[in-house]
Symmetry: C2
Subunit: 296 residues, 2 copies
């Protein structure tokens, strides 16, 4: 553990993820659909979710090919959600990762379809037909991803988000929204990585606690950055939440308490790893660091 | 077979599907999302895809609980595609099954999310965690559904459709579009039903041929009805394709040849069943009849 080098680890794993996405997101989909799908997915993004999945799998010395598929599948769900979220009927955002959003570049209809097709592709990746991933593992991965993406997860959180614009939420309501909107998929990334290995009940619980804390910390930090960072650094429009009168951790708790809360969640995540019998938690710890320390 | 009563069979199976959808499409999804999802799915629709799945399973005396899940999952994918397809950036339709479309009733943002959540829910239904469906079967069902819904299936077909408005397609291009846009999910309905049983290679081939022919026949008849039926009968806006200058079988082949083609496809479907060793094909035959004889 002492000699764990996170830049090395993340560099190698990011390269594997980029190569896999490059291969698996089809260039040849009909009528420009493939172009829009690839534009939405390739060449941008922190790939936090894939790295969480890979790190969780490694903490259990699990099935690395399955984990790479799981890693890419959560990234496809994340990418599709951004495409749809940026559309005029939702956030109406024109800039994402420093580039025009998908609907600006390809039109709304193609953006809508590209998002839809990316969601389906996520489940395709999880169900390879050439025997590389055991079928029981495929089923478990699909189960986790579907629940994290759907009405009891990301889509449900987005619905709460929509309904909350301009309304006063208390901290509990805000937490519930973020646990669904961003937390569910971040936690699923961890648990899908775990599903590629054999976790004891205690290990599963540790990873659940870690994933939940990281998922929430990510959003708290996101809200902080929306205030403190500029658009060029973020690669998307800063100050957007405040402008849209969206409730955020900063608007409810204030800046100092939001920063404290992020640190508490970080402590929860790392303490869960400390108390666990997981084989190798160095990458998970480093990812917790990057979530809380990130500047964009 | 002589005493097969299709109205009885379809009545009982439709009731099972409606009950299952009523139970499985959540009322309690956050912030009105559940209402929009249920509005999109419940109380309307011919349920052709679910009936195909159930009939295919029964032709192999397969796992009926798995087939009910498969049946509902394909209907959720179909329902989500209609919600998104009706949106202003796509077909901009305000009437569906005789009712206001989802975006008219709930707003575009909720319609977008409801469609997204319905796609995820389809994969949730296929992956129950209480042991009712073998995991290998779950994986196979997810694999079939994902491929039928995505860029090489329904979403890809819709992209071709989008790109084809106002352009001259030849018959081969039109066929390709429809094989993806509507054919893939109809065929998947059959093959997912089959995946709930144990088919021989010969039986699988017969069901593939049946499903492909039925899928294409459905679209040919749809194009015929767009010309011959009125909006009240269809429950959606008639004459829309011609008005939008969309290529259809009728516009390319003419009415008589389109009707002949539908009959040829019907014959292909039933001959595939005749030549098969499937245990009980009465329901599949009756469904082929309804696809070709339907008036709405």
């Amino acid at each position: 553990m002492a000699n764990f080098d996170f830049p090395d680890w993340s560099g190698a794993h990011l390269q594997a993820v980029e190569r896999a996405l490059e291969q698996w997101v089809p260039a040849l989909a009909p009528a420009g659909l493939g172009d829009a799908m690839r534009y939405a997915v390739l060449g941008g993004g922190k790939r936090l979710r894939p790295l969480l999945a890979l790190a969780a799998c490694e903490s259990l010395k699990g099935h690395s090919q399955a984990a790479l598929r799981a890693a890419c599948s959560v990234e496809l769900i994340h990418a599709y959600s951004l495409v749809h979220d940026d559309m005029p009927c939702m956030d109406n955002d024109v800039l994402r990762r420093g580039k025009p959003t998908v609907h600006v570049k390809y039109g709304q209809a193609t953006a809508l379809l590209a998002g839809d097709a990316l969601q389906a592709l996520a489940f395709e990746l999880l169900t390879p037909q050439e025997g590389s991933v055991p079928e029981a593992m495929q089923a478990k991965l699909c189960a986790l991803l579907a629940r994290a993406a759907g009405e009891a997860g990301m889509a449900g959180g987005q619905a709460i988000d929509l309904a909350s614009v301009g309304r006063a939420l208390d901290e509990a309501q805000l937490k519930k929204m973020h646990e669904l909107k961003t937390g569910a998929l971040l936690q699923a990334s961890v648990m899908m990585g775990a599903a590629c290995g054999s976790a004891t009940a205690q290990q599963t619980q540790a990873l659940l606690t870690y994933g939940r804390a990281i998922g929430l910390a990510f959003q708290v930090v996101d809200d902080i950055l929306d205030v403190t960072a500029d658009s060029a650094t973020l690669g998307k429009t800063a100050g957007k939440d405040a402008e849209a009168n969206k409730p955020t951790y900063v608007s409810i708790l204030g800046m100092q308490r939001s920063q404290d809360y992020a640190q508490q969640l970080y402590a929860q995540a790392t303490e869960a790893l400390d108390a666990s019998t997981l084989a190798d938690t160095a990458a998970l710890r480093a990812l917790a660091d990057t979530v809380v320390q990130r500047v964009y």
